[in-house]
C-alpha cells in the first residue's frame, strides 16, 4: 500500500515535467478528436462547398441523420459528399445519435454513390463517428450486412473516391464510408479498430487504462501514415481545428482538391482493381 502510493505520484510528476507541450499523448489526441467544439460536417460544408444539395433517405425505411449525403460543388469540382453528422446542438445530437449511423444511413450512402458513379461524379466522404449505432433496430435491420455491403460496394465503385478522417474514425462504422483511393486524415483525428476505452476494458480489464490502450493501438495520424493506412495528413491550425475552423476547412478543401486531381485520368473501370491493390497491401508482409 505504502509502496504504490509513493511510486505512483512520482511517476506522474516526472512524466508531466519531461513532456514538452508539443508532444501530445495518443489520449490527448483522442480528446481533441472528440472535442464537441471541433468543426462538424455542416461547418465544413458551409466553408468548403459553393453549393450543397442534401438528398435524403434509403428508400426502404428511414432517413438517417447520422450520415448526411448530397451533391456538392467544391471549388471547380462537382462531387457526391457523404459525411457523419454528430450534431451541433443537443437536439441534433439526439436526432443523429451522435454520428452513429444505422443501416439506413449506409444504405442511403450506397444508393447515392451508385448515382454518382452513374453520372461519373467523384465521391468524397468525411468520417467522424464513435462507431456504428449499437441498437436493437440496427441489428434487426442488418447492421452487419449494411456495413459489409457498404465496404464491398465502395471498393467496387467505378469512380474516384476520396475519404477524409476529420475527427473520430470509429471502427467498422467509420470504415463503412472510408474505402477510397486516397485516405486523408486531419492532424488531430484518430482512426481505430476499437475505442481506447473498449480496448482497455477488454485487454487491461480496466476502462481507466484507456491512455495506455490509445498509445498501444497506434491511432494517430502519424502512426497511421507509417502503417500505410493513411496517404496524407492535413495540418490543423495551432491548437487544433476548433481554434480556427475556417483555416481547418480551407486546408481540408485544398487537400481534397489535390487528391481528386491526382486521380484524374484514371479510367473509371480501373478503380476497383486499384482499390483492391491498395487495401490488400495493408498489413501484407513479405
Amino acid at each position: 500500500m505504502a509502496k504504490t502510493s509513493k511510486a505512483a505520484p512520482r511517476r506522474t510528476a516526472s512524466a508531466g515535467k519531461a513532456k514538452p507541450s508539443a508532444a501530445k499523448s495518443a489520449m490527448d489526441v483522442v480528446k481533441l478528436a472528440r472535442d464537441p467544439a471541433r468543426p462538424h460536417i455542416f461547418d465544413y460544408i458551409r466553408e468548403i462547398c459553393a453549393d450543397f444539395t442534401e438528398l435524403h433517405g434509403d428508400r426502404l425505411v428511414n432517413d438517417d441523420r447520422a450520415l448526411v449525403c448530397g451533391f456538392a460543388q467544391i471549388g471547380p469540382r462537382k462531387v457526391l459528399l457523404c459525411g457523419h453528422n454528430k450534431g451541433a446542438t443537443v437536439e441534433e445530437n439526439m436526432a443523429a445519435n451522435f454520428g452513429m449511423a444505422n443501416p439506413d444511413g449506409y444504405r442511403k450512402a450506397m444508393r447515392l454513390m451508385a448515382l454518382a458513379e452513374k453520372f461519373r461524379l467523384p465521391v468524397v466522404t468525411f468520417v467522424d463517428t464513435p462507431g456504428a449505432y449499437p441498437g436493437r433496430e440496427a441489428e434487426e435491420r442488418g447492421q452487419a450486412e449494411a456495413i459489409a455491403k457498404s465496404i464491398e460496394f465502395m471498393g467496387a465503385l467505378k469512380t474516384p473516391v476520396v475519404c477524409v478522417i476529420t475527427g473520430e474514425g470509429g471502427s467498422g462504422g467509420a470504415l463503412a464510408v472510408a474505402v477510397g483511393d486516397r485516405i486523408l486524415m486531419l492532424e488531430n483525428a484518430v482512426y481505430s479498430v476499437i475505442s481506447p476505452e473498449g480496448c482497455a476494458g477488454i485487454l487491461w480489464r480496466d476502462g481507466a487504462k484507456a491512455p495506455e490502450a490509445a498509445a498501444a493501438l497506434k491511432i494517430t495520424a502519424p502512426d497511421l501514415k507509417k502503417l500505410g493506412v493513411v496517404d496524407s495528413i492535413i495540418p490543423e491550425p495551432a491548437g487544433g481545428a476548433q481554434k480556427n475552423p475556417k483555416a481547418a476547412a480551407a486546408a481540408v478543401k485544398k487537400a481534397v482538391l489535390a487528391a481528386l486531381a491526382e486521380l484524374d485520368g484514371i479510367a473509371p473501370a480501373d478503380f476497383p482493381a486499384l482499390r483492391y491493390g491498395k487495401f490488400s497491401a495493408m498489413g501484407r508482409f513479405a
Binding site: 449499437p134 441489428e139 452487419a144 467496387a156 481505430s192 476499437i194 487491461w204 495493408m282 498489413g283
Partner: protein
Amino acid sequence: MSWYVKPETPAKIPPAKALWEICPRCRAYVPRKEWKDNGSICPRCNYHGRLKARERAELLSDAGTFKEMFREVSYSDHLSFRDASGPYVEKVEAAIGKTGETESILTGSAAMGGIPVALGAMDFAFMGGSLGTGTGERIARLCEFAMEERRPLVICSASGGARMQEGILSLMQMAKTAAAVRRVKDAGLPYISVLTDPTTGGVSASFAMLGDINITEPRTLIGFAGRRVIENTIRQKLPADFQTAEYLLDHGFADSIVERRELKAFIVKMLHYFGF
C-alpha cells in the same frame, strides 16, 4: 441411453472431464466419443457445439480431399503490441501451441460431392477467431486460388471480430476480404458463406455477410454489436432469441438455417444449381 443429466448438482468439475462432454444448453453428460461421432451435436437437445477448423473442413470435404494451403501465412506484430498481461506475440504463440493452427482461418483445396472447391474454415479457439492480417491474407489468397482454378468459394466463419492487437490493420482486413470475395463473385463464381457460432463484429460486417448464399446452423449467434453493449446503450433488455440464426432468418439476413448433418449436402445442391 448413453447420455444423462445430472440432477440438481451445481456445476462442479466432473471427475472424468476428459471422458464426457457437458452440453452447454441442456447440461446432458455425453461420452466424448459419442459427442464427436455425432458431429459435436448434443444427441439429447440438438445443440450444435463449436467445431475446430479442421473438424469443419473434414465435415464438409469428401473423405481425404482437404489439402491445406497458405499455412506459411501467419500473424504479424506490426504494432509491437503489448497490454497489461504481456506482448501480443506471446499470446498468439500460445494460441498456435494450443490449437496447432498458425492463423484463425484454415484454408485449402477440397472436393465437395466431387466438386473441387476453395475452402476456408475459421477456428474460434484461435484467439476468438479474430480477423488479423494473416487471416485477411489467407482469405485473399484463397479467393485468388478460387479464381485461378474456377472453383466455388466456401468460407465458414467463427469469430468475435477484428483482432485489436493488430490495431487498424485488422480493421483494414475487412476492406481487403470484402474486396477479395467481391472479385470471386464478379468472376462468375459462387461464394457460399457459412456463418457458424459465433460470427460477430468485424467478421459479420465483412466477408461473412457477403455470400451469394448466407447459410447458418441452428441457434448460431450472429450479430454486429455485442448484446451487453446494446443493452447499455438502449437501456432495455433484449429478447432471448436476439442475434440468433432464427432471428436473422426472420429479419431477412440468412438464406437458410441448415442442420449440421445436412450442411454439406445443402452446399453441394446449391453448387449443382449453379452449374457445377
